[in-house]
Symmetry: C2
Subunit: 205 residues, 2 copies
Amino acid sequence: MTAAPKRDRLAERREATRAEILNAAWEIARAGGLAAVTLREVAARVGMQPPSLYSHFASKNAIYDGMFGQAWADYLLVCRQSVASVPKPPRKALLYMVQTFVDFALVDPVRFQLMNQRMVIDFEPSAAAYAPSVQVMTLFRDQLARIGVSADGDADLCVAIVGGLVDAQLANEPGGQRWTAQLPRAMDMFADEVGLPAPRLRRRR
Amino acid sequence: MTAAPKRDRLAERREATRAEILNAAWEIARAGGLAAVTLREVAARVGMQPPSLYSHFASKNAIYDGMFGQAWADYLLVCRQSVASVPKPPRKALLYMVQTFVDFALVDPVRFQLMNQRMVIDFEPSAAAYAPSVQVMTLFRDQLARIGVSADGDADLCVAIVGGLVDAQLANEPGGQRWTAQLPRAMDMFADEVGLPAPRLRRRR
DNA sequence: GTCTATACTGTGATAGAC
DNA sequence: GTCTATCACAGTATAGAC
């Protein structure tokens, strides 16, 4: 009989503390914006002295980095769970995928800021934290290819359009839907461009 | 004989000092990013002690605000100067206008950051600084209407597409043109959507 | 390994003298 | 208007207790 898989209680506890710190940071960010995240405030919430955080994160930006990785990992999970329920018709599939992203973005604007804008002036994501976002893009390209959209630059253009709409919405009218309501129209436009079959979901004006 | 227009030398000098401060801030930002702009560095460049800056700007964000207004005012000027040279054919006109914006954005990424992203975490533009950007949008809508694009949301969609492409370019590959090279294609796509006449400038794939 | 205590540096901002 | 002096707060480094 082989030895039972050894639980590394130390590593578990360490990981739990890291998660606790990140959760506190998310709370603060959601309540007062990313700028409100200070080491002192985070430390106070987890019951530590500020310098103690350095036992778990090398710097404040390392905390942002952890949040960045978490956010993209969460979205990767959402994507994978939604793969099964993507509709078959190409245009419906396209709209479903980008709508999933937009919903994810709008439900937590601060998270979207961290994921997609370079909101925190001196923060550059590490390779490790960047990995899940690359996986998301790969998955998206695969799904696009499955409905026949695989030309160079097609995915780039699609992502730029969706990102542009969400950015404009959050920057100019947070909470509204003046821009995001144009998502179906924009995706029909894109579908026409890349030559997707099937009728338009919405008539042209 | 009427009195000569009274030159307010004091106001002139005051305005000159403000401009000097903003110029110093632009220099620093271009060299080291917006985060590098500190009151001490600005003061050093204009030969002042840091607190003296408060005689001219109420806060550091007020300096960002001044830069924001300057940037949009500059672009408004570029737009007005280019109005005369916009080509007649609708699709060419459209591409010319957005290309003007993209060129303006790419030539100074830091300026674009300040203008279009909420890069500085706690900065919200004042009404005064916001005014020229509103004028730019009004001018853009007018020019769109002149080529027959006037439906609600058309300008919004166009701006979102262009902004999305520039954002993606600067965020993922500053200095490259993987995304911005798709501008003609994207504008043809948009032109098809809004029913602009004339042949596509580029063939579909 | 983990946390505390203390301290250093740099930041934006204020008060008051000249 | 500009200066000097000073403040409160930030992120961070280090030493040492457990």
